[in-house]
């Protein structure tokens, strides 16, 4: 690794970043065909050297170089893992097609939307029942919020059917999904005697509801990003093989 005038901590920052990248390369190439693994390792080693040499020549600070090396490694992890899978299976390019992935994503997000609407409707029904039988004479904030979130989720789910509005629908479902599960647990605390017992006996229920909500939100945000910026493909010449794989940097 050339370091030019690198000294001290800065020098070590580039070295550490390069070493991390090489460690990661050794890790994801382990167990592969030795020739394939060695080729990838040597190519990454060359890349790290070239980047460091170029950065030194261009007067780019060592810390910035180290950050760039780490960022390139981190951003490439999904592709590295996909490449490894393809090497192990020998099936690079025979994976789910983008339209199929898109369809599965739409089904998942729509299901999330339906569940959120159902949660909102359920809490609304419990609230009305509690008011009618006199169990409660007011509307807890958590119940009002859950019902409102359910209503927003209904609109968001409807937006999923319009191609152009789909990213917005998924983004809305991310927000409602983040909150609705935990809020519904809190609402049930006031609206259901059984739920009250369960909630008191299971202290991790609310954190679990937030964890589920976070997972749902992440999926919806990913879907929103995918639909807002769909990957483009260009037809190749007839002689070229049909290629599939990752679609972004």
């Amino acid at each position: 690794m050339t370091g030019g005038d690198m000294t001290g901590a800065d020098d070590r920052a580039v070295e550490r970043a390069a070493r991390s990248t090489l460690h990661w390369t050794l890790r994801y190439t382990s167990g592969l065909d030795p020739v394939v693994a060695a080729d990838r390792q040597e190519e990454i080693l060359s890349d790290l050297h070239e980047q460091t040499a170029w950065a030194t020549e261009a007067g780019i600070g060592e810390r910035a170089t180290a950050r760039s090396i780490r960022a390139r490694m981190l951003r490439g992890i999904p592709a590295d893992l996909g490449w490894r899978r393809a090497q192990l299976s020998g099936r690079e390019g025979i994976r789910l097609s983008l339209p199929r992935v898109d369809g599965l994503l739409l089904a998942a997000v729509a299901a999330i939307g339906v569940v959120q609407v159902a949660v909102g409707a359920f809490i609304a029904a419990r609230q009305v029942r509690a008011l009618l039988i006199g169990d409660i004479s007011w509307v807890p904030i958590a119940a009002a919020l859950t019902i409102a979130l359910g209503a927003v989720a209904l609109v968001a789910t409807a937006l999923l059917w319009h191609r152009r509005m789909r990213p917005w629908g998924a983004a809305l479902l991310a927000v409602t999904g983040l909150l609705i599960f935990a809020q519904s647990v809190e609402a049930l605390y006031y609206l259901s005697a059984t739920a009250l017992l369960v909630i008191n006996g299971v202290p991790w229920l609310e954190p679990a509801a937030y964890a589920i909500g976070t997972g749902v939100a992440i999926l919806c945000i990913a879907a929103s990003a995918q639909w807002a910026n769909p990957a483009r493909r260009f037809p190749a010449a007839p002689g070229a093989s049909a290629l599939t794989g990752e679609e972004s940097r």
């Binding site: 990454i44 037809p235 990752e246």
Partner: protein, 108 residues
């Protein structure tokens, strides 16, 4: 079908190749970043795409002679060239893109 990264690699490769004869991974990464003012492409995406394009015959590659690298005091470079099939694929894709017949909307 070519992915945008593959199209970009062919484009950059065809720019570097007449001047240098061939190109290597980091030179491509630098050219791509300079072209669109973005960050350097990740290792995983770049080398996976190069690997796939090599296997598909759009590129050909060979390791440079160790003596050359040793003389320069650096690791060996894997040198790539755009093949005839790669160039044809690039021209066809570029024509289609200009006509605007293929867009992401088609997949949505």
């Amino acid at each position: 079908m070519l992915l945008p990264i593959e199209l970009a690699i062919l484009d950059a490769g065809l720019t570097i190749q007449p001047r240098e004869g061939s190109f290597f991974g980091f030179a491509l990464a630098r050219t791509l970043a300079e072209r669109d003012g973005s960050a350097l492409v990740s290792h995983g995406t770049l080398y996976r795409a190069l690997n796939r394009m090599d296997a598909a015959g759009l590129l050909e590659s060979e390791w440079e002679a160790p003596e050359l690298a040793e003389a320069d005091g650096r690791p060996r470079r894997r040198l790539y060239r755009v093949t005839g099939a790669g160039e044809a694929a690039f021209r066809a894709a570029a024509r289609t893109e200009r006509r605007g017949t293929v867009t992401g909307e088609a997949l949505a």
